[in-house]
Symmetry: C2
Subunit: 306 residues, 2 copies
């Protein structure tokens, strides 16, 4: 049984500098907790984040969370500290940016501590951080209903054991195509998924970017194309936006079963399709509820048969 | 109104030498007319081919067409001629083979002549040949109900004007992702599709291999993922098998509308998924009708939502 509809997201809040073939933006709002919480907030007004920033973090960006009704009691400010900064350049390849710099700053010493009042969250998203820290977070949460976990190539290469140990406690594990191959040692995605399930996660989502997503559990295999777009301005945050939409939908679905999981993957797809149509969270912040439903319905028309 | 259910396929019948990471086969049955007609024959026992071979063509391969009930009155044998031979190596990249040789042989002088009794075919597949010859074929067919046309990078590069002229008379134009970009000059596939529709074809199918297909007409946009496979032994002929399945299904659907087109694209996908599971047409020849329906139903379960 699902205890409540509270979503708790543990990840990064960052300031990004982004260049794509379509433009350049300096010092925009970024971070995995940012994209995923803004995305989830369209489905659930009981979404909180646990992250860390420096006191250089712009007030205007803090206001974004307020505006979206996101609980930032877990957003710790380190006096004298500097916020995590990342700079990526997508001009060579829209699918994999060249990192110009990663200044972890206050994020380097991030030891996520879940505020007492949020430890009962039923829905947890462990965004991409050190798998040891993701495990530490999980130990603080009281019996969650659904734990979704993301990772990245760096942790697969450097902390594979911690990651595999963590997977035994994960309900939905998200990773991209390349990471799935890296973690499993299998090129074929069906074999990769099977190997990853064997590590103990209840299910795995393999994100293929513009080619859609695959979902695997012991009893369900599901695949969906992505939403076709004419202009992709900035792919930063697409995966986290996907996760936020998925979790947001599931938190309101009443039950977590094959049908609601299928639909949640489509809502994740739809939210990601909005996110990449502008830099940072700009496109998400312009969204109205009706836009989401309209694009969802359009996606149904574009994919249904028989 | 659809006059009859006759399918006529104009293309190549070839002898291939294939190497993939999973093995090597010398002198196997190949060619666009072969794959597409064998595929179509599972839906329609009134399928004929127009092609050319030499008198070196093995009797055992001729028997394949007989076995599948394919009309080969239009299969011309050139006395003293040699059959078209192609050799491809996929060991570097399963998506794009290295051509070791192309011996056109009798195919070089192929001037397709449609037998008098087959000029009333309602369903026509112009497999990949010189667009001038494709046009010549079309002039011989009396008022077909549906004309499907394939092409390749070579014709896009060397006969773009003939191809664009031909497109005004095409109902469904098939090409792969790279060819769509090449022909349209647009990288984005939505823009590419729009540009290709502007040349005059009523609709276009962009084949993305393991990532599925896109369909565009003025009123319908449809997309589908591919059927997930664990082992792909030989991708040769996948596109032609797709076309044959699509056309085969449509020829029996009673009417050509958005709904039957959607379903036909899925049957094309399913047939192609079988074809690549063995070399040449071997997997197709082992198929039973029930296998097709079973995989189709499985595909429905793997992709449906809400």
């Amino acid at each position: 049984m699902i205890r409540n509809d509270k979503i708790l997201i543990i990840g990064s809040v960052a300031v990004d500098c982004i260049e794509t073939p379509f433009g350049k933006r300096a010092a925009v709002l970024g971070g995995s907790a940012t994209f995923s919480s803004v995305s989830a907030s369209f489905f659930n007004r009981n979404t909180g984040i646990v992250a860390v920033i420096g006191d250089d973090f712009p007030a205007a960006y803090r206001a974004v969370f307020k505006k979206r009704g996101i609980d930032i009691r877990g957003l710790r400010v380190i006096p004298g500290g500097k916020t995590f900064r990342w700079s990526g350049n997508y001009t060579g390849d829209m699918n994999s940016p060249v990192t110009l710099y990663t200044h972890l700053n206050v994020f380097k010493d991030f030891k996520p501590s879940i505020p007492e009042g949020e430890r009962d969250a039923a829905f947890v998203f462990l965004a991409n951080i050190d798998p040891d820290l993701q495990g530490m977070v999980l130990r603080q949460i009281k019996n969650p209903s659904l734990v979704v976990c993301d990772t990245m190539n760096y942790w697969i290469a450097n902390k594979p054991r911690a990651l595999k140990k963590l997977l035994k406690r994960i309900d939905i594990f998200l990773l991209n195509e390349g990471e799935a191959r890296q973690l499993s040692g299998e090129h074929n995605l069906l074999k990769a998924a099977r190997a990853i399930l064997a590590y103990g996660t209840s299910s795995v989502v393999i994100k293929k970017g513009e080619y859609g997503v695959l979902f695997f559990s012991k009893r369900l295999m599901f695949q969906s194309p992505a939403y076709l777009l004419e202009d992709i301005l900035d792919p930063t945050g697409a995966g986290d936006t996907f996760a936020g939409g998925m979790l947001g939908y599931l938190s309101g679905a009443g039950r977590i079963n094959d049908a609601s999981i299928r639909t949640s993957l489509i809502y994740g797809t739809i939210m990601a399709s909005f996110a990449v149509q502008d830099f940072s969270v700009d496109a998400l912040l312009r969204l109205r509820q009706a836009d989401i439903r309209r694009r969802f319905d359009e996606f149904v028309r574009m994919t249904k048969f028989c």
